[in-house]
């Protein structure tokens, strides 16, 4: 079974990369390199260390931003899931934030927070936080009441109810919020490198493009997607590790 799914994964990867290679060979555009060219550029970048230097820059706002968003987001989400007043006051802000196209705000942020790390972290946070907050709050509100009642019938304190029942019960939805949040954070980090100051991977993308080195540009894009996927896999592993029993597999099996 394991082999079959691995095989299918490889097969679908082969189809997609093969299509890319063919499209690059036609070529569909002067600005579209082949898969092999891009991978070679990626290899060169990795070997000469440019890629690591670039990620050193990119990951800083991303990781800081995501950590802040996760901690603050979950805390605020818990609070507004538990407290009606807090929810009334603050959740509209996050709904507005979630719905709002914050990309448009970036120029403003630059003006207020400058071109440094701060405004990039800020961009990551405003992209990542709303979905984390809203998912957490929703999940907390939807905790099955029979579980909290059960806890209370065994005299759990409020903190115990939160830590031992509400958070684990809400964890699948919290984690899916984190997933969407991290992915939005990645979008924010790249956006800020494309729109605020080109550093890190954003710089490789824009600079390669400006000198028409499209293979390097695609290599950089490829690497960031790989990184995002790895990041999310790690998150999934953490979730599996923490709340094993929540994983119930295919409903059909």
């Amino acid at each position: 079974m394991m082999n079959r799914s691995l095989l299918l994964k490889l097969l679908s990867a082969f189809i997609v990369f093969g299509t890319w290679e063919i499209a690059g060979r036609i070529p569909v555009s002067y600005a579209f390199p082949t898969f092999i060219e891009s991978m070679k550029a990626l290899f060169d970048m990795t070997v000469d260390g440019r890629l690591f230097a670039a990620y050193g820059e990119t990951l800083k706002p991303l990781v800081i931003g995501v950590i802040i968003s996760a901690i603050v987001g979950i805390a605020v989400g818990l609070w507004s899931g538990l407290n009606e007043w807090f929810d009334w006051l603050f959740s509209p802000i996050f709904i507005v934030m979630q719905a709002a196209p914050l990309a448009a705000l970036i120029p403003l942020l630059v003006m207020i927070y400058g071109i440094g790390l701060t405004s990039k972290i800020f961009v990551v946070c405003i992209m990542a936080m709303p979905v984390i907050v809203l998912n957490t709050a929703g999940a907390v509100r939807n905790t099955p009441s029979s579980l909290t009642e059960m806890g209370r019938s065994f005299q759990a304190s409020n903190w115990e109810v939160i830590l031992k029942i509400i958070i684990p019960a809400a964890s699948p939805v919290i984690f899916s919020g984190l997933r969407l949040g991290v992915s939005a954070g990645f979008i924010g980090a790249i956006l800020s490198e494309l729109k605020i100051t080109p550093t890190g991977v954003g710089d490789i993308i824009t600079y390669s493009r400006s000198i028409a080195d499209y293979a390097s540009m695609y290599a950089a894009i490829f690497s960031i997607i790989v990184l995002a996927v790895l990041f999310l896999n790690v998150l999934e592993k953490i979730e599996r590790f923490l709340f094993e029993g929540n994983n119930r597999g295919y409903a059909s099996d």
């Binding site: 994964k9 509209p92 709904i95 120029p107």
Partner: protein, 250 residues
């Protein structure tokens, strides 16, 4: 939320925040935050201009088409993935990758593949919205009560009947949830597309106003967008609540 026995409407706290904004604007805390009332005045001024209406048209056109494709392609794809294990295993990794990949990084690739005009913006919008719609439709189908399907079969339903009379409806709460998140992401997508691909629509207005430091104009357009996104998302949330009565009982 209840206060002194009066039920406060869900979003009424926004009024409070608007007041706070007005005060911050009035005390001239920062050049970047003009008073809300001034922003609204500007809003009424520009809302009639041809430039604004053109931007509105271009943005809604891209947005509506993008969302349309995301829904029309996303829902059936998700349903098929939920039904068919082979297709699911082939597609799921990619759906997950695109859901989590920073799509902004992909935008340059899209431009090359699909051109630089409206088409790419629409595709960007679709790409922002479609993955979560697929995943949710898939999740909706996967949690369908097997016996509903067996019931339909036992009464001799054809595949199309099973699709239109069972799968779609049974997955509807999840589908609507996915569409709501997808639509919200699409608003982001359309603006990001307009900023990164070709500068048209509201993206162009933002660019212009911020480059020239026309803060009132800037906020006015932003408020229009907030309001649009907010309304759409609340309408969908309302629909979702309409069907959620059976969500817990399937």
């Amino acid at each position: 939320m209840k206060i002194f026995g009066i039920r406060l409407p869900r979003m009424s706290s926004l009024i409070l925040w608007g007041l706070l904004w007005e005060i911050i604007g009035r005390i001239e805390f920062s050049f970047f935050v003009p008073p809300l009332s001034a922003v609204f005045a500007t809003l009424f001024e520009i809302i009639g201009t041809a430039a604004f209406q053109k931007a509105m048209y271009e943005t809604s056109y891209a947005f509506i088409s993008g969302v349309f494709f995301a829904i029309v392609i996303g829902i059936p794809t998700g349903i098929i993935m939920g039904k068919n294990r082979l297709i699911d295993e082939l597609l799921l990794p990619w759906v997950n990758i695109f859901l989590s990949a920073p799509l902004t990084a992909l935008v340059p690739v899209l431009m090359v593949l699909f051109g630089f005009g409206m088409k790419s913006i629409i595709i960007t919008t679709t790409l922002f919205a479609i993955w979560i719609i697929i995943l949710n439709a898939r999740a909706g189908v996967m949690q369908i009560n097997r016996s509903l399907i067996e019931m339909a079969h036992s009464f001799g339903a054809s595949s199309w009947e099973a699709f239109s009379k069972i799968y779609f409806w049974a997955a509807l709460p999840e589908i609507l949830g996915g569409v709501r998140i997808g639509v919200i992401r699409a608003v982001k997508g359309v603006i990001i597309g307009q900023l990164l691909i070709s500068i048209v629509g509201f993206g162009a207005l933002f660019e212009l106003y911020s480059a020239n430091f026309l803060m009132k104009h800037f906020w006015a357009v932003l408020i229009v967008l907030f309001a649009l996104a907010f309304t759409i998302s609340e309408v969908l949330a309302y629909l979702e609540r309409r069907v959620s009565y059976y969500a817990a009982k399937r």
